[in-house]
Chain length 461, copies 2
Amino acid sequence: MSYFDAASAAPLHPVARQALLASLDDGWADPSRLYREGRRARMLLDAAREAAAEAVGCRADELTFAPSGTRAVHTGVGGALAGRRRTGRHLIVSAVEHSSVLHSAEVFEAEGGTVTRVPVRRTGAVDPGAYAEALRSDTALACLQSANHEVGTVQPVAAVAEACRAAGVPLLVDAAQSLGWERVEGDWSLLTASAHKWGGPSGVGLLVVRKGVRFAVQGASDERESGRAPGFENLPAIVAAAASLRAVRAEAEQEAVRLRELTARIRARVPQVVPDVEVVGDADRRLPGVVTFSCLYVDGETLLHELDREGFAVSSGSSCTSSTLTPSHVLRAMGVLSEGNVRVSLPAGTPEEDVDRFLDVLPGVVAGVREKLDAPPVTSAVRTADTPEVVVDSLGRRCPIPVIELAKVIGSVPVGGLVRVLSDDEAARLDIPAWCEMRGQEYVGEEAAEQGTAYLVRRVG
Amino acid sequence: MSYFDAASAAPLHPVARQALLASLDDGWADPSRLYREGRRARMLLDAAREAAAEAVGCRADELTFAPSGTRAVHTGVGGALAGRRRTGRHLIVSAVEHSSVLHSAEVFEAEGGTVTRVPVRRTGAVDPGAYAEALRSDTALACLQSANHEVGTVQPVAAVAEACRAAGVPLLVDAAQSLGWERVEGDWSLLTASAHKWGGPSGVGLLVVRKGVRFAVQGASDERESGRAPGFENLPAIVAAAASLRAVRAEAEQEAVRLRELTARIRARVPQVVPDVEVVGDADRRLPGVVTFSCLYVDGETLLHELDREGFAVSSGSSCTSSTLTPSHVLRAMGVLSEGNVRVSLPAGTPEEDVDRFLDVLPGVVAGVREKLDAPPVTSAVRTADTPEVVVDSLGRRCPIPVIELAKVIGSVPVGGLVRVLSDDEAARLDIPAWCEMRGQEYVGEEAAEQGTAYLVRRVG
């Protein structure tokens, strides 16, 4: 089995495993107690904090251990917003943040706060200038991920941090995807991360709050972890998290070069061996191990199952692989194709042969899924009498059917003619324009229809 | 080393260790993913939930895994209060709940809610009738621990649950101290627990919300754990928690009898071998492994250090062992002596010889601490001219000095005479009346003094 979903959860690093085992014996007692076992636990906790702080590039007393990266984000965003309540009730996030940041923003909006979601370029990166323009006199907090979790694009954190610093606004950086590779550059104010993304155990997040940042923890708390993470410390996991962060960092520089070469190979080869594919994300400023592409006329869930059957574990931002049946908010914000979306995220140590085997297998798998999907007939393609226009009724059909039907009929209207796709699938809003861009056809726009939405496409060539 | 602080954190049960190791290999992937590793993780999670639910006595879909018992309480109390906001903004807790419950209550008060803290008897138990009287038409939630964490007293949960049920008020039971021993009886509505209290790993709490209980999670959340515990599941620890709960339960009945005999021995022997000791908590309705006593004229922190030196790890509710320099809220609510307080909580499997060695060592240790403390002279004991009254100025002196000074001078006033102890130590408020009760002297009351407080004691015998 080739596990290519490290961006969801990296397999446990051997050092993490070793440290976890050792601290199961030495670190189960309450570190706030005065007796020997408690003091030993406290020493382990202090040493883990020092090690993690060194890797982050902060003071040990600025770093607390949370039960997950998600909790670190919730606490960090909530605490920073509350700490600067007097300044204002405005929050800035990028449109492609992790759901933990976006959920925090939604809670803030529900409580009466205002949120600006800074759009991204087609690469997935924010424009530092556009981000800076969102800063206001009442901005309490700005958030920007170090790198995107779905497409691997690295964000211009240092430039945005500089703009925030100039405006006197703290910047929270969600560094979940990049901290295992390197320190986050720039003059950020808060930072969050998640151990299981770098090969540490689950159950550990990092929350760093720089000295001088106003911060007021929300909700019930206690005296543990500077009052920022209540509850008994998950010490063996914390020790394993810190030890593995140090270990992966020692290997990071060399491994980054190797993985970057492998993902570059995927980026280059996939469009050569699979027709109708869009590789998404920035080609240069990107994480070493992540590459994402979308395949036209492919159902993401079926594709994942077929790849799983071939021994590859990958992830997808397609609508049919999400519980909400909407495409990933990242792909939407980028305006790229979402159907048949595949994220390959290679764990450290991935053998080159596994990547080559993936490239061997992928064309056949995609072709097989497309063949199956080709089978359902176009539900209705009625040539109207007076105008060179075709109506495709895809109501009730899920992605990628609307796009498949569009593709089938585009040739039946003359150049300059119009195809009107009726769809009530949320993915169509993203995928029909993306198809037009890939195919060189003109996307005219959408209109409300009696049922669902009509997407208008003009044949150009 | 004899570890006698299981009520803080129990050593890891061998089954927990074994399950943790196994699921480090099988359970590191994201259980929400569709590929093989994800499905395997999902199966482990589902099985752990079934096992934990069976041990609790609830449906699997009523139980969620939180990152700690503390977080389970915070989420449970906050969610239940928000879910019944329309009913009212009144919360009932006992005065001796765990700090996680009391912190939640403080947050609720800060947000405008009203909290009734039901007092306890000298044994530490609430009176079910008094608890029932606190129920109001606007009561949103009632909380009662299954057993007290500091003195081991078992609470009348079933009777209180019945009263709550009759009033239509949900009862949240913090079962952290008892769930490893048995199911919580009675018709409760919500339940919380913590794995590291029963020999499971740290990083896992349980939150059970019965079907039909109105519940609205507060703050940012996500789709994991029914929206009640955001963040990547700490799966290896969850699997270990469930497996160890099942394992400790299998051994519980027999081990409870054995530990109960050992703690009964401590309860009986300590007052025989150590003078001026008060054993606190209910003699009968109590946890099998917990026994708590307080030693007059003893500094709790020194006592803990000396016991640690002799190889015993115990805990204390004395003021000088807490960061706030106030005695434990539990001992205060019970109105018992707090100075020289020692909680012995035996982990399952504690050898009888360890308990006997503790009983051998304790008298000498206490005597040694007392001898040291006797050394400092009474700061000032000025016999006034006209009245048979002595003023002891203990301002700036910490527990147990004020009580030691009182004890030294009580003989220097005639029967009917008055000792006035000036103290600014919070523990004196609890310990001077407790000393009077132990010594058969009359506690007259307290008066505000120029500095600190004057505690008045009349010599009776």
